[in-house]
């Protein structure tokens, strides 16, 4: 039985098309994927991401404890700053990709993927030494307001000064009289906020944002648009583009790995891999012939399979068939060509610069 977020009734009221996602009954679309995608690129979109999990480290040593679990460096952050990071296994593969929020050195808050929430919590619990993680997943709903008009909409609903909250910074305050963590983060490539609030307040906040954003053309958006938006940015989706056998170095996420900080799980494996050089890399590519790449389609070079597509779609903004996949390092440079096998037929593809989508 799929779980429901606190916004389930709202999705029904707005006639969202509900599907099972990571054990949650989530809206895949409301008015239509392309319309929703466009709204986020040109105006604003509102997403229910309450299925995401949250884990908290609190008390003396919280920062050090969390820092031993993730690849990025919370010691280099200011209070009120967040980082994207990998939670790795000993082999350097991803247990998950997370966003870690530094409230203070004694209070670290980590947002994890819905599909991995229990696994992550167990992983963190079994590897934590001094500070025990607390699973807060049931205590938070999360709404993402994304798009060029998002900041204006949220600002009209709060007395918090959002101008001072830069990208990957956060603050706390009331939005539409609802207590929130107001975080300037997202998964769309657009400016915007992710708002964490109590489940009981989620519906009130949801409709307040929709009402306030109406004149800006805000639309409620489903997971379908979320996926096409993130694919156009080549943002990794756990389970597709990253998993327990691929490392951040292979995934092109070296920037979230701080090998010069203290020890963390997976560090030794990454150091070794970095010294040896990676043998495969996650690239973005376009098809040069008709077709659409999809996850698990084979990538071929000279008729031999050399890799696999991990994500792919017809990008609604780039208006091209785009894909993400692992290829041998020799094929990972811009302009390199290979084939994607689509229903038994090799279709031409070329590695391109990412993100696929660039703001006009």
């Amino acid at each position: 039985m799929a779980r429901q977020t606190p916004l389930y009734a709202a999705h029904q009221k707005l006639k969202g098309r509900l599907v099972d996602f990571a054990g949650w009954e989530m809206p895949v679309q409301y008015s239509g994927l392309i319309q929703e995608h466009e709204a986020v690129r040109t105006a604003a979109g509102l997403f229910d991401v309450s299925h995401m999990g949250e884990v908290e480290f609190k008390g003396k040593g919280a920062l050090d404890e969390a820092n031993r679990l993730i690849t990025n460096d919370l010691a280099r952050c200011a209070d009120g700053q967040a980082v994207y990071a990998g939670l790795l296994n000993e082999q350097g593969g991803f247990v998950d990709d997370v966003v870690a929020y530094r409230f203070s050195p004694e209070h670290i808050f980590i947002c994890v993927n819905a599909s991995n929430a229990d696994k992550d919590f167990n992983w963190m619990s079994s590897h934590a030494k001094a500070v025990r993680p607390v699973n807060r997943s049931n205590d938070f709903a999360q709404l993402a307001v994304q798009g060029p008009k998002a900041a204006g909409i949220v600002q009209r609903l709060t007395s918090a000064k959002l101008d001072g909250v830069g990208t990957y910074r956060f603050t706390q305050g009331q939005v539409a009289k609802v207590d929130c963590i107001i975080s300037r983060t997202g998964y769309t490539g657009e400016d915007g906020f992710e708002l964490y609030c109590a489940p009981k307040d989620a519906e009130r906040l949801w409709f307040a944002i929709l009402e306030e954003g109406q004149r800006d053309g805000i639309l409620p958006c489903g997971l379908g648009a979320r996926d096409s938006l993130r694919t156009e940015m080549k943002y990794a989706l756990y389970g597709n583009d990253i998993d327990e056998v691929h490392t951040p170095l292979e995934a092109g996420l070296g920037w979230i790995v701080k090998l010069d900080k203290g020890d963390f799980i997976g560090k030794a494996a990454l150091e070794k891999q970095k010294a040896a050089g990676v043998s495969r890399k996650l690239v973005g590519f376009e098809l040069t012939e008709a077709g659409i790449p999809r996850s698990h389609y084979p990538i071929l070079k000279d008729g031999q399979q050399v890799g696999e597509v991990t994500s792919g779609t017809m990008g609604p903004s780039v208006k091209k068939a785009i894909g993400i996949g692992y290829v041998p390092t020799a094929l990972s440079t811009e302009g390199a060509t290979f084939h994607v096998e689509i229903r038994g037929r090799p279709v031409g593809a070329r590695v391109v610069k990412t993100p696929f989508y660039k703001k006009p």
Binding site: V28, L33, I34, D227, S228, I292, R294, T313, P316, R343
Partner: protein, 128 residues
């Protein structure tokens, strides 16, 4: 139900078929395009290809998903709608205007055995 014209025949695979003289015109139903979402790619057979009833004759893709197209009747493809291949969104705009292929049936009686409007809408109701 105006989404399912009464002068068409239907399949449980959500294709529609319409008799046009000696041939049968084939497309996907309103339900099929609604379930798919925005159609962004259509792959159709070539004129002259043989298709088999209830077997795949092509592929239709939305932003999210890939679905096969199933032939309502067996026979030879005599026309292909290249306009839809060039503008796949036409399937969402009007799935009954955006026909996909025209088939010369091997056995004309196959057409009569397809579902009528009442049987198809009943099938959709039952699937809800």
């Amino acid at each position: 139900m105006s989404n399912y014209p009464s002068d068409l025949k239907y399949t449980k695979d959500h294709e529609w078929a319409k008799k046009a003289g000696n041939t049968v015109v084939v497309g996907v139903t309103w339900h099929a395009q609604d379930a798919l979402g925005a159609v962004v790619y259509v792959e159709l057979p070539k004129v002259g290809a043989q298709v088999k009833a209830h077997e795949s004759f092509g592929v239709i893709e939305s932003t999210k998903a890939v679905s096969e197209l199933f032939a309502p009747v067996s026979g030879k493809v005599v026309k292909v709608n290249d306009d839809v291949a060039a503008n796949p969104g036409a399937v969402n705009d009007d799935p009954y205007k955006a026909w996909l292929i025209e088939v010369e049936p091997a056995n004309p009686a196959d057409y009569d055995a397809l579902l009528d409007q009442a049987a198809y809408t009943k099938l959709l109701e039952a699937a809800k």
